[in-house]
Amino acid sequence: MRTWKIALLALNGLRRSPLRVTLTALGVAIACGALVSMVAFALGLQRQIETPMRLLALLNDIHVSPKEGERAKNAPILDDEAIDRLAQLPGVSAAYPNIRLRGIKIRRGDHTENCVAVAIPREAQMLGVAEEFLLAGRFLNEGHAPEAILGAPLLHALGFTSPQAAIGQTLILEASGLLADMAKSFTFQRKELSVTVVGVYDLPMIVPGPIRPGLLLPVDLMKQVPGAYFESALTRLKAGGDASMAGYGSVTVHVREPADLDRVEKQIKALGFQTSTTLSHFNEMRVFFIFLEVFLAAVGTVALVVAGLGIVNTLLMAVLERYQEIGICKAIGASQGDLVVLFLTEAGFIGLLGGLGGLLLGRIVSYGLEVAVGIYAGHQGATAPPHVFAFPLWLLGGTLLFAVVVSVVAGVYPALLAARVDPIRALRRG
């Protein structure tokens, strides 16, 4: 209680030179603002990339593909039979082929649009794909109904005014592609499919490639689309194999728990396939982001240390100005420790003030940048992500704490100087 009362006296000290304290706190605020906005930028980028992985439950996935190059000739084929075997492995919840076809034309009345069609399992919801992935509607139903989930960027081109308006509507898909035959040649095929839109999805802006403006179709439907096997057939043919026995280019195996990843991956390799996991790429990416965040935080810390020197200067001035007052305090019973508490509190308060200002400044600057980039991107015909900066609570609290700690450390020298003031000398100065 006594220490708290002495700490409160520090506020009185700060009140006496408001301009100097404000300017010093402003220095801390600018440094904190830079620190928090730079780290928030790195975190925001990380979030933009990680969110789709989380939404699509990609971290439990193993990507399986046939062996390539010289080893491909006699390697096992990744066909439906192989997929069934993979699905039977302990710990595996689903296995499905990765089929992605460009140039699929969607027709709805007078509206047409080209898109990429992506195969997803009908049990996608059960595989942990997040609900927030959908803007409207639902996931695919089990069974064989010709259903589709439409990418939000396609809504406008197809004449839908809202995601809800698309639900239940019928789309005509036109697909054409090459089909491999026994004679090591390909024949051209063209096909029309009718699908019902059951859901509309959207992904963060940063997701690369054509997935965002895509059309998600059930695997069983995608298998009927011409060209579904073309890529793997060509690969097989190049390796001197039989194109008609090509199977799929790759398969996704979804395990129930990430802990099963290693074991299942080994079992798949033992079956003669090559594998990779999203988690391993994810971990590499995380290391990169940690490095980026630490680097940006270090740059911000340099600014904060410079601001700390400002605090040292301000408090040294305060010690000189209040030299006699320090003598009075000692004469009436203040100990050296009391004076250390007094000046460290002043330093900490400047840090707190600057830290709070910095958080506000960082938020304002990042918001301004987001708006400015959005406007600029709009002029360039692009769409910028709405929230590039991420301000988690731990970042805000941590920055504030860091500002206070740096300020208190900066206050140590002036506080010790105040504690060592000779009261007689100080009183004689009057």
Partner: protein
């Protein structure tokens, strides 16, 4: 000097010396002072400027440490105390009144008084109550909310006295408390010190160059010249 039983003295110095180095020279501010003050006594230490009066007061108050001899206050040897113990000693045992008042300019009269209590750990309502009581004792209730710059010299010294007595110290030390005041105000301040001395039963040591102003209040007067006690006289004439 008044002889007495060693255990009966509240303040006792023996061969007390204090030398300062000023460049290559050594200045002997006090040279072997033997002084005894009884508990509850009002002692005036008289001497011209530079005679060592303030140095003696600083040593008695634990603001300074002797270079020779000893100071015992309430049977406690101050020379054996470290910096923290001296702070505790000043906090609990001593009240200081200075010639230049030394009030904190940014605090009100009452806040200045309460400041001393803060360092003693008295907080909350008791702190406010005791500060108000001390302010009332020196007759400044109506000026409690004023800052030092809004008070006259006499009023500022009254605030300084309130600050010195707010924690009811057994030893009150006043260093030229009337040095900056006109004679009428000086007489009022000495009278106030005398009142406080009688009401609180504190031992008071006042150092001054003005014998006339303390003659009526002091129980005893001692004379200091060139750092040495050179004589003694009775007070309350």
């Amino acid at each position: 000097m008044t002889p007495g039983n060693e255990n009966g003295y509240f303040v006792e110095t023996s061969g007390l010396s204090r030398a300062y180095r000023v460049g290559p020279a050594t200045v002997q501010a006090l040279a072997g002072v033997d002084l005894q003050v009884r508990r509850g006594e009002f002692l005036a230490v008289l001497g011209v400027s530079g005679s060592g009066k303030s140095t003696l007061l600083h040593l008695l108050g634990g603001l300074d440490t002797p270079t020779g001899g000893s100071v015992r206050v309430d049977r406690r040897d101050l020379a054996g105390l470290n910096a923290y113990q001296r702070a505790i000693y000043r906090r609990t045992t001593v009240g200081f009144v200075f010639q230049s008042y030394y009030l904190v300019p940014s605090l009100t009269a009452e806040e200045n008084v309460a400041l001393a209590l803060t360092f003693q750990g008295t907080v909350g309502a008791e702190r406010s109550h005791r500060a108000a009581e001390a302010i009332a004792r020196v007759g400044l209730e109506r000026r409690a909310g004023h800052r030092p710059s809004q008070l006259s010299g006499g009023e500022q010294q009254r605030v300084a006295i309130a600050r010195a007595i707010v924690h009811r110290p057994p030893l009150l030390l006043a260093d030229e408390p009337t040095g900056n005041l006109d004679s009428a105000t000086a007489a009022e301040v000495v009278s106030l010190l005398d009142t406080v001395h009688r009401e609180l039963g504190a031992t008071v040591v006042v150092v001054t160059h003005d014998e006339e102003i303390v003659r009526h209040a002091a129980d005893r007067m001692v004379y200091l010249r060139d750092g040495q006690l050179v004589g003694e006289g009775g007070g309350r004439s």
